[in-house]
């Protein structure tokens, strides 16, 4: 059993219709075991009252759902316009040339993360990171710690600038 039936029941009570449970339960399954298993798909289909084939088709439509377990350290680098202009492609190439890439850690590309003010932006596991450079991201994927430019500080700086008192 992948899902907790009591939790599923509690989540179902929040929605007017059960089929809305598909995405929240896919997230829940992925949080619990790291990916969406066949067993999870069957459980979700039963809970949301939709065919298992439909749940499968939803899993493959949304890029953030995974059908297999990811590496423990996972860095997704944004390669959309503002980050590309800041050198995202070179950063990805540099990281992918590192020993251990694809085994101990993975480096993937991702579409715009709505963090263009922190270009080059990325997601390290579930945390927004940026601005990324090669040295900072190397440390990140090797040690799982140490980020170039703490996310919150960058956001606060932007907000200060907005008020005019940061200039």
């Amino acid at each position: 059993m992948v899902l907790d039936p009591a939790e599923t029941k509690e989540m179902a009570a929040r929605y007017p219709e059960r089929r809305s449970l598909v995405l929240p339960l896919l997230w829940r399954a992925q949080e619990r075991i790291g990916y969406v298993s066949d067993e999870a798909i069957d459980e979700i289909a039963a809970a949301a009252d939709v065919p298992a084939s439909e749940v499968s088709s939803v899993v493959t439509f949304y890029t953030m759902f995974r059908r297999s377990k990811p590496p423990a350290h996972r860095l997704q680098v944004c390669t959309s316009l503002s980050c590309a202009m800041a050198g995202a492609d070179d950063l990805v190439a540099g990281l992918r040339a590192m020993p251990g890439c694809g085994e101990r850690f993975s480096v993937e590309t991702v579409e715009c993360l709505a963090a263009c003010d922190r270009a080059i932006a990325g997601l390290y596991n579930e945390g927004l990171v940026g601005p990324l450079d090669l040295a900072g991201s190397t440390k990140l994927v090797r040690d799982g710690a140490g980020v170039a430019g703490p996310a919150k500080a960058a956001s606060d700086a932007a907000a200060r600038a907005e008020g005019g008192d940061g200039r």
Binding site: M85, E111, A119
Partner: protein
């Protein structure tokens, strides 16, 4: 001109704490609306305010609300927080740094349209935003602003935070509704529009995060007050996200109608040292490029449209002279080819075809006829041939670049890779 209506306090205090938010006047709009106003009166103020949709279309929210049929079916409010347009990052700031403003806007708006269930749809990548939003909803419920018989009234409202999972198309309102219903994010055939048959085939309003965040101040101060701010036909403020080759990228909340030049040169600090402006994509990757001679254009819906581009959600990407116009088109097209949901042929096939042609041009393998081919593809894919605007978005910048920077495309088509190509990557 900066005016902090929605961003007041951000970066200074922790507005995620409901106590802090309330100490600065938070939830007074809910108190006022539920205790002293009828739903119709709230809707009338929003109508008077001429609050236009901040998600990009600029459609008046009050009019959108008025389309709901009065036929006894339940009504729903869905918040579009799927912010995915490359260049836009203002919704993320509101969700992460001012979540109670959104909750308050959702309560006032749901009350106005008679909805007892609202969904805040956030893109899947907003892990932190979803956690913050869930905490805000829990705090507001505990404080009595959500749930049954809010503030002792007859009105009840429940909010669910629903996460997407990595699909640009879910920012399109009918695809967003499909996603909430647990389906693949394919846009629906319209009509019927969501107002008539939206979530669970019931009357539904879909509004953007920033649009709803404007509602509390409209309730507090009146629609006429809001209508008097900024451009007469696009009143209020707009949070402009600016990034790219500027000194101070970030979010700046400006009065509608502020000149583009003021945003770029003053607030964002101008172009990085030693360089000059080449073009601006004012509404992210899907907008027509603007050039330095257009810097005096006022930032509002109508003036930007009159200038041949759009305000959209105001995600401005600024490019200096080292940027290759062909490379920018390729980066954008790869995005759209990846994000096309595959439902409509012109978009599904066209985006990949354009991407292929641009890739060979950019790689120095272009053919002289490629420029004309691209021009014809822009016409074949764009112009409203698909169920949703993604197909149009995919060729809007390209169409403008082919007009403004045709010489660069021609040079590439004759086998010359752009001298800027290396620089755009290492810039």
């Amino acid at each position: 001109m900066i005016m902090r209506l929605l961003t007041d306090g951000i970066g200074e205090v922790d507005l995620r704490d409901i106590g802090v938010y309330r100490s600065r006047g938070g939830y007074q709009a809910v108190e006022k609306a539920l205790r002293r106003m009828t739903p119709q009166e709230v809707a009338a103020e929003v109508n008077t305010a001429n609050l236009r949709g901040r998600g990009g279309a600029g459609f008046p929210a009050g009019r959108k609300w008025s389309f709901l049929p009065n036929d006894g079916r339940p009504r729903y409010l869905c918040v579009n927080g799927d912010e995915s347009e490359p260049g836009s990052f203002n919704n993320r700031m509101l969700v992460e740094d001012n979540p109670h403003l959104l909750v308050e806007g959702v309560i006032c708006s749901s009350y106005a349209i008679g909805a007892n269930f609202a969904v805040i749809y956030l893109r899947g990548e907003f892990y932190e935003g979803a956690a913050i939003m869930n905490r805000a909803v829990a705090q507001a419920t505990e404080a009595g602003y959500l749930g049954e018989h809010i503030l002792g009234s007859d009105y009840s409202l429940h909010i669910v935070v629903h996460r997407g999972a990595g699909a640009y198309i879910c920012g399109e309102e009918s695809a967003l509704l499909e996603s909430i219903e647990g389906k693949r994010g394919h846009p629906r055939v319209k009509p019927p529009f969501p107002a008539v048959a939206g979530l669970y085939a019931s009357p539904t309003v879909v509004n953007n995060v920033e649009t709803l965040c404007c509602v509390p101040s409209i309730v507090n101060n009146g629609g006429a007050w809001f209508a008097g701010i900024g451009s007469p036909k696009s009143p209020g403020t707009k949070i402009c996200s600016i990034s790219g080759h500027v000194r101070r990228p970030g979010n700046y909340e400006l009065v509608m109608g502020t000149p583009l030049r003021e945003l770029v040169e003053e607030h964002a600090g101008g172009i990085r040292d030693g360089h000059r402006l080449k073009m601006i994509l004012p509404a992210g990757a899907s907008s027509a490029a603007m050039t330095p001679d257009q810097l005096d254009t006022p930032l509002d819906f109508d003036a930007m449209a009159a200038a041949g581009s759009m305000l959209g959600s105001a995600g401005l990407i600024v490019c200096d002279e080292t940027t290759c116009a062909v490379k920018v088109a390729l980066i954008g097209e790869s995005f759209y080819a990846h994000e096309s949901c595959g439902k409509c042929t012109p978009c599904r096939e066209g985006t990949k075809w354009v991407e292929k042609v641009l890739a060979r041009l950019e790689g120095g393998q272009g053919q002289p006829e490629d420029v004309d081919l691209l021009k014809s593809l822009v016409g074949e894919i764009g112009g409203g041939k698909c169920l949703c605007p993604l197909g149009d978005f995919a060729v809007t910048y390209l169409g403008s670049a082919l007009r403004l920077f045709e010489d660069e495309f021609i040079a590439h088509a004759h086998g010359h890779t752009c001298s800027h190509a290396a620089e755009v990557l290492s810039a």
